[in-house]
Symmetry: C2
Amino acid sequence: MRIECIAIGTELLTTRRLDTNSVWLGERLAALGLGFHRKTAVGDSREDLAALFREAMGRSDIILTTGGLGPTFDDFTKELFAELLGADLVEDARSRADMLDFYAARNRTPPQVNFKQALIPVGAEPLRNLVGTAPGVWWQDPPGHPGVRIVMMPGVPREMKRMWEEHVEPRLAVLAGEAVHTLRMVVAGVPESNLDERTRAVREQHGHLDWTILASLTQVELLARGSDPADLVAARAAFEPVLGPDLVSVGDSNLEDAVLAELQTRGQTLAVAESMTGGLLASRLTAIPGASCAFLGGATVYTLAAKVALLGLDPAWLQEVGTVSEACASGLAEAARQRLGATWGVGICGNAGPGAEGEAPVGAVFIAIAGPAGTTLKAHRLAGDRAEIQLRTTALALDLLRRAIVHPAPSR
Amino acid sequence: MRIECIAIGTELLTTRRLDTNSVWLGERLAALGLGFHRKTAVGDSREDLAALFREAMGRSDIILTTGGLGPTFDDFTKELFAELLGADLVEDARSRADMLDFYAARNRTPPQVNFKQALIPVGAEPLRNLVGTAPGVWWQDPPGHPGVRIVMMPGVPREMKRMWEEHVEPRLAVLAGEAVHTLRMVVAGVPESNLDERTRAVREQHGHLDWTILASLTQVELLARGSDPADLVAARAAFEPVLGPDLVSVGDSNLEDAVLAELQTRGQTLAVAESMTGGLLASRLTAIPGASCAFLGGATVYTLAAKVALLGLDPAWLQEVGTVSEACASGLAEAARQRLGATWGVGICGNAGPGAEGEAPVGAVFIAIAGPAGTTLKAHRLAGDRAEIQLRTTALALDLLRRAIVHPAPSR
């Protein structure tokens, strides 16, 4: 089943607007064992859209569009599909009534231009929109294209999501029938090319699965897709010994979820003290619902004075060891752990750039993990711009912490 | 000149990965007065890519690709274009030397798989990559497609951006001829529709400029484009009185840059205490180089115990007023200000969801700004998912702080 997504709107091409709709749709499709083979963003140009709609009807079984259902002159998704397929548009009584209700609830009457939103191509089905004024369209087997389904949804994310959940996903779930199954393994602390070489033999042994390796600044993902769940179980069993302690998690979770889960199953807690990463590690953890089960809090100690005021470190000692040093990282980790009474404390200092900071070159990073059996330290020298250095540092800290939790060192 | 962008990588279709490269490229093109007519994201499937490359060579003058230049088996952008165009790949000596240097600087030797990255199609030109191992390709007038330019860049944003700036943009600027000038005004605390209505008359008076309004979760941008810089100066002068204190900045800077700049010009400092936003406000500020001039640090006090341990708040009092309350936000702001000896303290508490927290519904947010003239408070009730609520809250806090700095209330 080949599915493509078409995001319509000039703003998606020329500006800072990210097409987040298609990302969200991709995730929801993945949960059904489906996926896009292509995503396109295109402006409000009749000629471009007509060409794209024609191509899409020739190559895809399901075409999901977002946008172009609004009331203004530059909204014409429905009109254009109807024109290309030689179908008339007729007013749908319920869509008109929904729109009148929508405005009445806000003590307004619809502007005249809005009534075109209640028009639906003959042969297609309207999809109700109770949080906005533009109904969607489900068009199955449109003229000349048996087997094709065109699904038109609004571009406003809230309206699109609600329509998807209520009307589109249930229908696609039925179609998905025999689903594609996915095995997702998250690995940290290993470069992509190393992982590629290390896993080649095992991937070849499981060559009937579709393999992908995805590297980001924070982790590497190994993805396998296949139609028989037993193949994925076998692949997982073959990979686990190859990946060993570098395997962070299997399934949906990422490095930060895995760390929180490891803490939670052990009834352990975490506190952080961040200098160079300035709150990014804390914010990655608190982005996860329920983080407070294990994450107690942290100090963003961007200045020497803050290290003293929030964590009680000795200013003379800090000046002696330097605020970008192994000793400082250990001091931060131990103070965070002690102040908040946590099982684990993470301390981070370094220089994210762009300029050198005293003696510390750009990219110098020190990470310390203070735990029940003492303090572990790692020094790194990272390349990249400020944002990349900060983000990679949080990933290195999470991975170091994960290894300390899962494979605790003998006490000393 | 029709330009299209093709982002290559299965991760762009199925996961949480946003294609930010094409957004960045769209902005850079706009600065040259150019724009995409289409953007496509497509997986690492040979068949899909081959079809798309063929279509693109038939309809576009310039094809920008990102991704698929890496060393692994699922990277084959160059190979596929070469195959479709009937060109051989040959090793480029300088690209090979650059790669060896890149690894040598890191005390490593390249894995064998990496050497394929130095292969370039005959007739095309390599684009140097000094921050990664994959050179890009500039292919002008490829066989059978006179007038077409294929530009292949790496998918890693840092490598792509550097290559664009050094090698691609200068060539496209020559093609673009006359430059377009842009006026960018950032506004906060005002919904997009309000801004649309409020500025309509002025925009119409300056109707020879191209106007766009862009709303994100954190700010609204007003963009004007025109060929004569004097027109933009006049438009700016006309807008300033209309926008008044809602105008955050003019030019490249965003809300957080503007806040840091306002603090710095006054020699003032800032400390934050974040409960619900869990470090996100601190991390948005410390993402900016030189933030430490004004930002001292903060406490991520995700639990009651952390509010006590890091900020010295009274646990009995916290339990009495509740940790999602106006009083708690004020207490956080005042404690942060006092502990760190800052001019300003920001306190944030609330419930970002997904579940209700005690009596606090999802989206309940309290923000306090403690300053030299006392404490200002704002309560909000936000819609959206956890990430949206956290992000919008940091923007509301920054804007409230900005107004307090720029228009200080009479002391009380």
